[in-house]
Assembly symmetry: D2
Homo-oligomer: 338 residues x 4
Amino acid sequence: MIVILKRDATEEQINHIVEKAEHLGLKAHISRGVERTVIGFIGPEDVLRQTPLEVYPGVEQVMPVLAPYKLVSREFKKDNTVIKINDDVTIGGNKLVVMAGPCSVEGLNEFRSVSKKVKAAGANILRGGAFKPRTSPYDFQGMGEEGLKIMRDVGDELRMATITEVMDTRQIELVAKYVDIFQLGARNMQNFSLLKEIGATRKPVMLKRGLSANIKEWLMSAEYIMASGNFNVIFCERGIRTYETAYRNTLDINAVPMVQQLSHLPIIVDPSHATGVWSLVGPAAKAGIAAGANGLMIEVHENPEEALSDGAQSLLPEKFETLMKELRIVAKAVGKEL
Amino acid sequence: MIVILKRDATEEQINHIVEKAEHLGLKAHISRGVERTVIGFIGPEDVLRQTPLEVYPGVEQVMPVLAPYKLVSREFKKDNTVIKINDDVTIGGNKLVVMAGPCSVEGLNEFRSVSKKVKAAGANILRGGAFKPRTSPYDFQGMGEEGLKIMRDVGDELRMATITEVMDTRQIELVAKYVDIFQLGARNMQNFSLLKEIGATRKPVMLKRGLSANIKEWLMSAEYIMASGNFNVIFCERGIRTYETAYRNTLDINAVPMVQQLSHLPIIVDPSHATGVWSLVGPAAKAGIAAGANGLMIEVHENPEEALSDGAQSLLPEKFETLMKELRIVAKAVGKEL
Amino acid sequence: MIVILKRDATEEQINHIVEKAEHLGLKAHISRGVERTVIGFIGPEDVLRQTPLEVYPGVEQVMPVLAPYKLVSREFKKDNTVIKINDDVTIGGNKLVVMAGPCSVEGLNEFRSVSKKVKAAGANILRGGAFKPRTSPYDFQGMGEEGLKIMRDVGDELRMATITEVMDTRQIELVAKYVDIFQLGARNMQNFSLLKEIGATRKPVMLKRGLSANIKEWLMSAEYIMASGNFNVIFCERGIRTYETAYRNTLDINAVPMVQQLSHLPIIVDPSHATGVWSLVGPAAKAGIAAGANGLMIEVHENPEEALSDGAQSLLPEKFETLMKELRIVAKAVGKEL
Amino acid sequence: MIVILKRDATEEQINHIVEKAEHLGLKAHISRGVERTVIGFIGPEDVLRQTPLEVYPGVEQVMPVLAPYKLVSREFKKDNTVIKINDDVTIGGNKLVVMAGPCSVEGLNEFRSVSKKVKAAGANILRGGAFKPRTSPYDFQGMGEEGLKIMRDVGDELRMATITEVMDTRQIELVAKYVDIFQLGARNMQNFSLLKEIGATRKPVMLKRGLSANIKEWLMSAEYIMASGNFNVIFCERGIRTYETAYRNTLDINAVPMVQQLSHLPIIVDPSHATGVWSLVGPAAKAGIAAGANGLMIEVHENPEEALSDGAQSLLPEKFETLMKELRIVAKAVGKEL
């Protein structure tokens, strides 16, 4: 922790801060420049981070030296984490993962039919929503447990892993019974109760980035899960909110290599939400792979005109199949396999 | 709902859209311009909003005619809603409300002491956090039920209403026992499970704006609560996330008159979070009142240097007292009473 | 300048950085913590700021200690700068200034008529655009010199100071002949050629904040003008670009007290552009005054339905008159005069 | 243009709007729904866009049907524009272009040396700044004409095209003498004087996206250039400003396919500015190519530690060479050539 003092900070103020620090068991190094005095504190940063040094008289600015996350960081673990989903699928290694399926589970026949097609095209995990976070209370809210059962049945039938969103601590046990990966949605990225309780399980969890979460906050939310004991965390970049209105969200492609530099955990890209427009999904998916992502999550629907949610960003199965072929070539070009 | 077609949309495509609309029980009005054909649909907007017309062949753009919220809108209710908290306090009328107290409840003595001072200065509702949403799992997480009890005891002693945050559906019953107003925090603005269950109670709820929620989404979250039966909703503008890093958040002062034009519900301003810097709290509070807000929520702490959270944005009781005197004059200048 | 090294920085890397610094005439203070080594540099920050220390091997992060602006800062000059416009009007003192008039000068009769009305209502400076920065090349681009002449004539007739935008270095001489204050528009805040040449004059200049300029960049643009010799700089907060689309821009009210803490120069608020909606102009103007601004710039048009630009955010003269009366009371409430 | 009326709009108000429209030579189609009346106007949109219908009594919202740009649009020209730079280089076709070189021209020897290396690695256009837009007046402002001459000499020697920024209308003639492509910087994207005068030349111009310009504004700035007669416009996505501070800018990768859908003009990506961090340049460059960009602009410096500007985001020539090899493979994977 580094504290920059105001130009006119007094000796008394400096002593006050130093005493406080020593009282907390820290060492203070004072460095007097021409225009400013700077104090560096050595000792546990956690202790200092919880002390609001900004309010001490004479202080101009406080700058942390260390990142606030630990378990998620590359410093904690040098090698990439590879998360095993089942005997066939891992996330984080050389083989990329593709999660595909409809936004919402809308019925057994519909889900089975589209699932067969995405499997045939090369997807290895089935996605679908049973509990849907909808902006309007008047919109379709998901099939609930009925939808979970459908996912389980179709997943078993096709021998595919499944992923679905959990929105509430009370749903965790139920969802855990039916699916293989928890999805933590963008709107719940800082639902700390949910993070802690999912951290108490050992099931893999995909943590979507909040609508306007910065990288540090996103890593801190993963830290919540890991600090509770669950180390199987996958990041998912799904677009951020910016001033641009030409698309639903702005895919932050920089985040892919940046998260990989800061953390050992895998990261996948969701080009469907990150664009919100089906005609941009292909280019965004390719960009994600080229930037080094460990996989993709893509919405596919057999009849977008009738989709109960997110029709505008869903691909038809034939378009998805063509895209998968193109993605395989891009993956190979960056030394990965799909 | 208005649908703008692509320049080269075919008759077949137009017919397909019109048929779909009629099938849903809507009437279509076609208007052929020189460069574009436009179709207006008449009938229930809800039906249409759930149909992804963007994906229909030939469609360029879809524009809703009506706002998606109903119960929260001025159209639904012309007059300002005034919410009764207790015999002494209402929110939404000519008399402004000031909620004040520490960020977190840190102990009985501390809370009682600061509460007496904010009451003496003119605050009419006590604020304090018992369950704290903290970015880091290693930071103070709040005193829990113990903190709620302290709030109840001090509130009773001073005959003041109390407000505290509820973060989880499982806390609702507990919190309801102890405090008078639920606070729904920025990070939970789109925690739809929580919105629905708070909507199932009848206790007043202050709904903070999400970090990057737009006005429409904010109103839709209030709609969730009202649609579940609880009409006692108060908006709280607490700053939004922008590119500016000179302050913790950017107070969106435009939101105050805009929400009042769109909705009949009261809105208050939280200058502490909306700036994150104690030296800006005063000017921001005055701006809030001048712009027409129905009240303020301000963090006050007797010893910010020792505060377990948000010390940097807390006012000392003496500063708060001075500010209250100034605010009284500003309130009067805009025809309100404080 | 403070340099934080990577955990695994080698002695060789540390020596390399220290040598470099000493070569530049700086002193290095090394501070070895448990997890990180930190180097503080003492000496001219300018020298260091121009050295990209981030790229030195072993460096994790570089943090400047001093703000990059000098002449604009409160440290350079403690007291508020008060700028004299003419014998009647100063900006920056206890008496607030109101600049009012149409977005564009559209003709002599129109300009004279509305000018008389804004004067009668209490405005003390006339605003109007002769060169208009328009997003579309097909929109009205302003009357040019003809418009400047009209401003001069009406200004003389009514004995009022005038302000207009200058968009190009080649217009400076011309504009200087006719008006009393240069306006530097948001889109030109970082037009460095223009900043320098306006800095070479001694005429007061109002520097609008760029659409997404942060406070530091804004102050640096004023520094450009002052470094060229012109100390008569007035800031103008006119709203920033955020994700919110309910208004044209988001008034950043926090900027008012923040700029006043960092700088001795006056700051005024433009509620017309900062909202883009006439029904929000009044509340935003009051908020500006309450937050401590030194004045306002407001668009007024006698017939917004026929305005050649910005009709949607213009007030009718009667509305402006009423608002001025209300503003006078708010000004008084915060110890100012209008 | 579509006008949505308020629920309580009167017949008189409707007639007033219709009369106005007819007076302007437009036809009005009235459509009366249950909750709202909607008026569609048929006729030249330009006329209507310049009429502030929002201020008419009874109007709730005004929605344009047509995009405001014409010459830049795909509707105006279906096929991709391919711009010929010289006998060897075109931009917009199947063969990708790479512009490389230092941020600033710092001397003949330095520029020649790095230019030889980027040419050997496969770059086909030399970049370098002679006039530098710097946030601080105290930072290096470029070598001016001396720098232009160096670019010309080295370009001739290596038979390579050159690109440099022009910041001021008075520099156009000078810059035109020495280089092959004008660069219009992000800060000048809405410097309309500059746009018009560059539009009056016929030299190719690369138009960088403004720091927070949306796609529509960016296209409108290109429209300014084309409306003045210069059809050789190349877009350059160089990152936008968002709330995220982990990188200097956020590469908006969605913009690449979106601009290509809306316009026939080529678009290239600048991963150096779009990240600001050299270790992210490679992944961002690959993402740009994978998303379909027509080329890249990359900063390369032989000694970033001594660079007079942007050292932190510059690649060493060896890193650039390696990246070019990788990019060639990615280009091939998406059917392009590099």
